[in-house]
């Protein structure tokens, strides 16, 4: 029974874990923008 439960849980988690392999290039996250450059004298 424990094995069955574990297998079901692993099956459920599958899409989340394998998502980087499943997603198509169109669905890839856009590259994160580089942090804005510090402007001397300006307080952030």
């Amino acid at each position: 029974m424990t094995l069955v439960v574990a297998t079901l849980l692993l099956f459920t988690a599958g899409p989340f874990v394998l998502w980087p392999l499943i997603k198509t290039p169109d669905e890839s996250e856009p590259p994160s923008p580089s942090p804005p450059a510090d402007i001397p004298g300006r307080e952030r």
Binding site: M1, A6, V17
Partner: protein, 686 residues
């Protein structure tokens, strides 16, 4: 129902038969742990492989497997908590650690009150904190992030192997009893709700800096990016461990009834050692961040801190060394010993392998400089760790060599005491030292701590104090406090000087400038606040150590005793019946207050009894009364302690934590950005 694969099918100590009725919770919990183990193992293997290949997609999959493992552990934790709160006595863990009379809050706390549950709690924290540290780790570079996930998942896998194979909290009893055995009386206290979870959280969080340090070495990266990334986690580990140590002292003081709060018990020692190592690391890492030196030392310190945590767990869980924490003994000691050996070999091998690339570049700073003070402080802390470690393992080592030897409190005080005094000296002078050459400004600044120390010394001498340790310790404590206050005074002095030069009053802009300085340098001023908290704490420890008074008395009702300026009058005794125990209470009058020391007896737990201490606390001293017994003639025996400045210990601990929080919450430039900036300045190794 025939015997099948079940949560308890591997254990030898409990009945093997399975219930006829479904035990859904047990199977769900055990299944979640097994799934968590598979996910963690998969994450470990894949992350190492993906890191080696620098395969970005597989690195992400490995990281997601770690998150999934954390979710499985969370599910198992929810299942265990549900079983506890619903009094599901079909689970051996629920039966062994709760009963129907246990208050609900303590039933919930039984989650970490036993061996198996505390391991699950540890794994849960490792999963959650590890996930938090991995979320932003991509900025460190693919390889380092992957290796960090791999190391962390390996550690998590070890805990899950133990939870699945050796110490499962989901074992089922053959017959469900109508009631449980209940929680150990010592654990039936408010301290149970806060001390163990904080200490265990501190222990678990040490794995994060270790994982990133090991990953940096594996990836051939000796820059400070891993330090910046894990700084908050190292501080969190240190802050939690600080809080855990102080809470443990508070609990021992209020519950154990021996008048003290620190007994140099092996379990206390093994909690202190990683704290000392992390204290050293938090200071020495500044040298690497500021001057690019001590790389190997910092790697070593983080690894030593984690190894000490594993060593401590081995000591606490195995019972190889006699300790007051015997309720936590079990058969998992050999597993932790093997894990300790594995971690030690891995760490030592990694450091040896990368030693060539860790040599410091640049000239060392002069001895009398901030860097010199930090190095000296590190060496002193290492000395204290060595003393405590030897004192802790001496019974084990000497027992293997022939006759078992045990050291007492005296050993620790005589061996570590002088080192602590030198550390206080370094704390007084270190913050005033510049990073490079110390000159006249340093000597001018030293006037204040020196003057404060001399005033206190003169006060003590005129008060008749002749104890040399007290005459050294108390002025040094004052000097450290004066240094912290001096550092806080600098920005305010700038505002004051600006007022004088403009011959006007202090403007709002002036105050804004001063507060801006504090906010901009919050890390620095938070550290000084933590120093101040430590000083208050040490003052409490020193005063209660040097000037504690103790008296044993037997009194008839109406009789009084006089001790250290306090007059206590015994009024009489009565018996009270409470929900889960009975109490024999002796009332004592102290001024307008009534103290009620008692002896509690738990009939449901085989008549186990426990003393309930009565304490009245003030900023000057605690009056601490323990009821030793009540005679047939109506007389009562008491042990009375007068403990000076004990409340300072708890206050100092709170200030210390406040300093950690104030110095790190809401940092304008978070650690991740610092790491990224550091990364841009370095060239990753191939």
């Amino acid at each position: 129902m025939p015997a099948t694969f079940s949560p308890n099918a591997r254990r030898g100590s409990r009945p093997r038969l399975i219930h006829s009725e479904p035990v859904i919770l047990a199977f769900l919990g055990a299944g979640a742990l097994l799934a968590g183990l598979v996910m963690a193992g998969f994450s470990a293997l894949l992350s190492f492989w993906a890191g080696w290949r620098e395969d970005g997609v597989m690195v992400q999959v490995g990281r997601r497997a770690f998150y999934a493992s954390a979710v499985m552990i969370f599910l198992a934790s929810v299942v265990l908590e549900t079983a506890l709160l619903t009094h599901d006595f079909s689970l051996a863990y629920v039966t062994e650690h709760t009963d129907l009379s246990t208050p609900t809050a303590l039933v919930a706390a039984a989650f970490y009150g036993g061996q198996e549950g505390s391991l699950l709690y540890w794994a849960l924290l490792l999963g959650v904190l590890g996930s938090a540290s991995l979320v932003a780790s991509a900025t460190l570079g693919r390889r380092l992030a992957a290796y960090a996930a791999g190391v962390m998942a390996s550690i998590l896998s070890f805990f899950l192997v133990v939870l699945v194979l050796v110490a499962s909290p989901f074992d089922i009893l053959a017959i469900t009893p109508p009631d449980g055995l209940g929680l150990n009386p010592v654990l039936r206290d408010g301290g149970m709700l806060i001390h163990p979870p904080v200490v265990l959280a501190g222990f678990a969080s040490f794995a994060i800096p270790f994982s990133f340090a090991a990953a940096a070495l594996l990836a051939g990266r000796s820059d400070a990016a891993w330090i910046a990334h894990t700084r908050r986690f190292a501080l969190m580990a240190w802050g939690l461990q600080s809080a855990g140590l102080v809470l443990g002292m508070w609990w021992a003081y209020h519950v154990l009834g021996w008048g003290g709060y620190w007994g140099w018990d092996p379990v206390e020692n093994v909690a202190l050692m990683p704290w000392l190592a992390t204290t050293a690391y938090l200071h020495s890492s500044q040298v690497q961040e500021r001057r690019g030196r001590l790389q190997a030392w910092n790697f070593g310190l983080v690894m030593v801190a984690f190894l000490l945590v594993v060593f401590g767990t081995f000591i606490v869980r195995s019972g190889v060394v006699p300790s007051v924490h015997t309720f936590a003994v079990s058969a998992i000691g050999p597993w932790f010993f093997a894990f300790l050996l594995l971690c030690a070999v891995f760490s030592a091998g990694l450091l040896t392998l990368r030693a060539g690339g860790l040599a410091s570049v640049g000239e060392p700073a002069p001895v009398v400089s901030r860097e010199g003070a930090l190095v000296l402080q590190n060496l002193l802390l290492m000395g204290v760790i060595a003393i405590v470690l030897w004192g802790t393992i001496l019974p084990l080592v000497s027992g293997m060599l022939g006759q078992e030897r045990v050291v007492g409190v005296d050993y620790y005080q005589r061996a570590a005491g002088p080192l602590f005094l030198v550390i206080l000296t370094v704390m007084a002078a270190g913050p005033l030292l510049p990073w490079r050459h110390a000159g006249a400004p340093f000597l001018r600044a030293m006037r204040w701590p020196l003057a404060a120390a001399l005033v206190v010394l003169a006060g003590l001498l005129s008060g008749g104090v002749r104890s040399v340790p007290a005459l050294v310790a108390m002025p040094l404590v004052t000097a450290v406090g004066a240094t912290c206050i001096f550092e806080y005074g600098r920005p305010l002095a700038k505002v004051w000087r600006a007022r004088r030069t403009r011959a006007g009053r202090i403007t709002g802009a002036g105050w804004a400038r001063a507060s801006n300085l504090f906010v901009k340098n919050r890390r620095r001023y938070g550290a000084y606040l933590a120093h101040l908290g430590l000083v208050v704490l040490v003052a409490g420890v020193a005063a209660s150590h040097f000037w504690q008074q103790e008296k044993d008395v037997a009194l008839q009702p109406g009789q009084s005793v006089f001790i250290a300026g306090y007059t206590l009058t015994y009024v009489g005794a009565e018996e009270r019946q409470l929900a889960d125990h009975s109490e024999l209470v002796a009332a004592m009058r102290l001024g307008g207050r009534t103290l009620e020391p008692a002896r509690a007896t738990y009939a449901g737990l085989g008549g186990q009894s426990l003393t309930h201490v009565a304490i009245t606390s003030s900023p000057v001293a605690d009056v601490y009364v323990v009821l030793a017994g009540i005679g047939t003639d109506g007389s009562a025996s008491f042990r009375i302690f007068i403990n000076p400045l004990v409340s300072w210990i708890w206050t100092g601990g709170a200030i210390l934590i406040l300093g950690v929080l104030a110095g790190n919450l809401g940092e304008r430039r978070p650690a991740v950005q610092l790491a990224a900036a550091s990364l841009r300045r370095t060239v990753p190794a191939a």
